[in-house]
């Protein structure tokens, strides 16, 4: 008997995530079949649209960058027992602060990149600090306060951008940042065949993932934050300063979302728009769920959603699948990831049965051996 076979099968996050994705794709395939298209061909176009050329891969990675940072922010908050539904507001706060600084400060490109990243992180952290303080000292639920912070950010942008950052042609958005004030750098752009979107935010996102993973797994701070997430009262009894942990968690989560704002507004789009609450703040919830709230899981799930986002236009360009159906498919996949508990129960049951069967077989073989 090999040791591998003796190992008990258990459902893990990877199997759950793959189940959600597969079921989502099957549901999408049924929709595509109803339209009268070939689902395999359509999905092929979807993936090709995201990855068929170096330039388009750059676009996909740029979309992934924002999702990764937002997903990381929400996953981090989940792990520490908080539901950060205010990532949209933190994205706006980070993006607005970074854009303002980028316009106002005249220094060389590389120091400027560090400066606007820092600014965005701090602004996002402040946007997370307020709900954190409210939660810690007045027990205001963070879902309520972060949603309200979303709208505060929305209206601040609405009035701030036309008043101070207005471009020459459009009333609804800021002037475009010149190339040497964005997160785009020429060597990355050239590496990706002149992609208009790829920026150093991607590197920042990957560093952020590593840092967060390190903090969570290897430091006392991470242990304390997680302990508060598992059981606030237990943690308090163990002598952990719960209030400090809650505030700190919200600040870090806010800061990460703020970085996403920098990557999106100073990297991907190069300008900030008014009257729009970035949907990435909510897509990030799906990214975090699919990634099982683990930093590494977020990397893969954000890349998956990046492919869907970047490829859907190409899919509808090549098939009869209208763009709205592409969005529906994405929504279905998000729906299945949100109900991942369902898959956990399903696989747990299946594996339990298999394990039981194996145990019986093993006992039988053992008894045969004994007989011999």
């Amino acid at each position: 008997m090999s040791a591998k076979k003796n190992k008990e099968l258990k459902s893990n996050n990877f199997i759950i995530a793959i189940s959600a994705v597969v079921l989502g794709l099957i549901a999408g395939a049924i929709l595509i079949l109803i339209i009268g298209e070939n689902p395999f061909a359509s999905f092929r176009y979807l993936v090709r649209g995201a990855l068929m050329s170096v330039r388009r891969t750059g676009t996909t990675l740029a979309i992934t960058t924002t999702l990764m940072l937002v997903g990381l922010s929400i996953a981090f908050a989940f792990k520490t027992g908080l539901f950060n539904i205010g990532a949209s507001g933190q994205i706006l706060a980070g993006g607005l602060a970074a854009t303002t600084v980028a316009f106002a400060v005249d220094i060389p490109h590389v120091p400027l990149i560090f400066l606007i990243l820092l600014t965005g992180f701090i602004a996002g952290a402040i946007w997370g600090l307020i709900p954190g303080l409210l939660k810690a000292f007045f027990n205001v639920h963070e879902v309520v306060s972060t949603i309200m912070m979303n709208w505060i950010a929305y209206w601040v942008v609405f009035y701030f951008v036309p008043a101070f950052l207005k471009g020459p042609s459009l009333e609804t958005e800021s002037a475009g940042l010149p190339f040497e004030k964005t997160l785009r750098v020429s060597w990355l752009t050239e590496l990706f065949d002149g992609s208009n979107y790829i920026n150093v935010g991607l590197i920042v996102a990957i560093i952020a993932v590593i840092v967060i993973k390190f903090i969570m797994d290897k430091t006392t701070l991470g242990f304390e934050l997680k302990a508060v997430g598992y059981n606030r009262y237990g943690a308090e009894y163990a002598g952990i300063r719960v209030n400090r942990s809650v505030v700190l968690s919200m600040m870090i989560a806010g800061g990460l979302a703020g970085l996403a704002g920098v990557a999106y507004y100073c990297g991907y789009s190069g300008k900030i728009q008014i009257g729009i609450l970035p949907t990435q703040g909510f897509d990030g919830i799906a990214v975090a769920l699919l990634g099982a709230s683990s930093p590494v899981g977020v990397v893969f799930s954000s890349f998956f959603f990046g492919i869907l986002q970047a490829g859907k236009g190409f899919m509808s360009g090549n098939t009869l699948v209208p763009p709205e159906i592409a969005d529906t498919i994405i929504a279905v996949i998000i729906y299945f990831t949100a109900t991942s508990v369902m898959f956990k129960n399903f696989w747990d049951k299946r594996f339990k049965k298999i394990n039981e069967k194996r145990n019986i077989v093993q006992k039988d073989s053992n008894s045969i051996e004994e007989d011999n």
Binding site: L25, G313, G317, P323
Partner: protein
């Protein structure tokens, strides 16, 4: 067994992905076939405005010339999102891309260089990098309209319907396309007063720009204030804000007041319908978006694509005007408007596209 089926499907799906990446991109035979695509502006394809008007023209051309058009809805409304939509079409082998709305100006400025083999039609704008230094490449046509003529004839129609009244104007953002509607509207009122015996006034405080194309509630508020001040007819050239104005017009008429709204861009009669089956839309100052997209496709098929130029569609080309039929206007008024329209076509009436002395801003 079920699990097995699921696994099988998963493997098939994954397999198709893997093989997909191995395949080489099949080159679209662009020499002979015309493939027309459109990228939508903010809002849906059936927005009863710019998107819908443009799309209807493309669909009509598709039926006449035998191709299947395609539209892409970008995931956002920034230049980056629009450019991604254009790339999706261009990379899929579409060789003619039509974009409605001035928001595409900077997008097309970049796209025309990035995809030199693709023909671009930019409706209601001119390509520039964001500072109005217009650059139109040979693969691009910029189409705009003489909005002032459209506003002019709408004003004449409204003045004939309500000869002794006060008019107002609600604009979206203060951009040339909207301002020209406003100035045409005021010139039309003046013309009707001088030549057709009406007595219509328009006060400075009743010529307003909302600064938005989407805030429905704001439009309703502005219209309510204006109607309360005694204004009888409001011309709403403001997209979504105009929807709010129309809503207020409906509620005014439902409560028995004789107030009207003049629509914009396309025939908005249906938008103003009330429960009693009547509409509060007196007439609409139209730009024939569908004709523009149809004509450009036609030109391209006849190898006469006017690349590198900027075209202004006026009454002469039947590019602007008011709907030929509206139950709220009598045949007599409609006939008089037709006369005025013909005089505009022949050049007898010239409507200025700028703020003449005596016109409100």
């Amino acid at each position: 067994m079920k699990k097995f089926a699921t696994l099988l499907c998963a493997m098939l799906a994954l397999g198709s992905f893997v093989f997909a990446n191995g395949q080489s991109e099949s080159a679209a035979s662009s020499e002979t076939t015309l493939r027309v695509g459109m990228v939508t502006d903010a809002g849906t394809i059936d927005d009863k405005s710019f998107n819908q008007g443009t799309w209807e023209g493309i669909v009509r051309a598709g039926e006449d010339f035998g191709f299947t058009p395609k539209y892409i809805k970008p995931s956002g409304t920034t230049e980056a999102d629009y450019l991604a939509g254009v790339s999706d079409l261009a990379d899929s082998g579409y060789n003619m891309i039509i974009t409605p709305g001035f928001k595409f100006e900077t997008t097309i400025y970049k796209a025309q260089d990035q995809y030199p083999d693709v023909k671009f039609v930019l409706l209601d704008g001119v390509p520039h990098p964001g500072d109005y230094n217009v650059v139109i490449r040979d693969n691009t046509v910029a189409v705009s309209w003489a909005e002032q003529e459209s506003g002019f004839v709408a004003a004449v129609a409204a003045a004939l319907k309500m000869p002794n009244s006060k008019f107002g104007f609600v604009g979206g953002m203060e951009i040339p396309a909207v301002q020209k509607f406003n100035w045409g509207w005021q010139q039309g009122i003046k013309y009707a007063n001088e030549n057709l015996g009406t007595n219509v006034s328009i006060a400075q405080e009743d010529c307003l720009y909302s600064g938005s194309f989407s805030d429905v509630a704001l439009g309703q508020q502005m219209a309510a204030t204006m109607f309360d001040r005694g204004v009888d007819v409001i011309f709403a050239a403001a997209g979504g804000v105009g929807v709010g104005v129309i809503n207020e017009g409906k509620s005014q008429r439902t409560s028995g007041k004789d107030k009207w709204v003049v629509g914009v861009d396309i025939d908005q009669y249906a938008d103003g319908l009330m429960p009693n089956g009547e509409s509060c839309i007196l007439t609409s100052a139209m730009k024939y978006l569908d004709r523009a997209s149809y004509d450009m496709i036609n030109d391209e098929l006849n190898d006469a694509f006017p690349g590198g130029t900027s075209i202004v569609l006026t009454a002469k080309e039947n590019g602007v005007g008011i709907p030929t039929e509206n139950p709220n206007l009598s045949a007599e008024i409609q006939a008089k408007c037709d006369d005025v329209y013909k005089m505009m076509q022949s050049g007898e009436i010239v409507v200025a596209a700028e703020q003449l002395p005596g016109l409100w801003k």
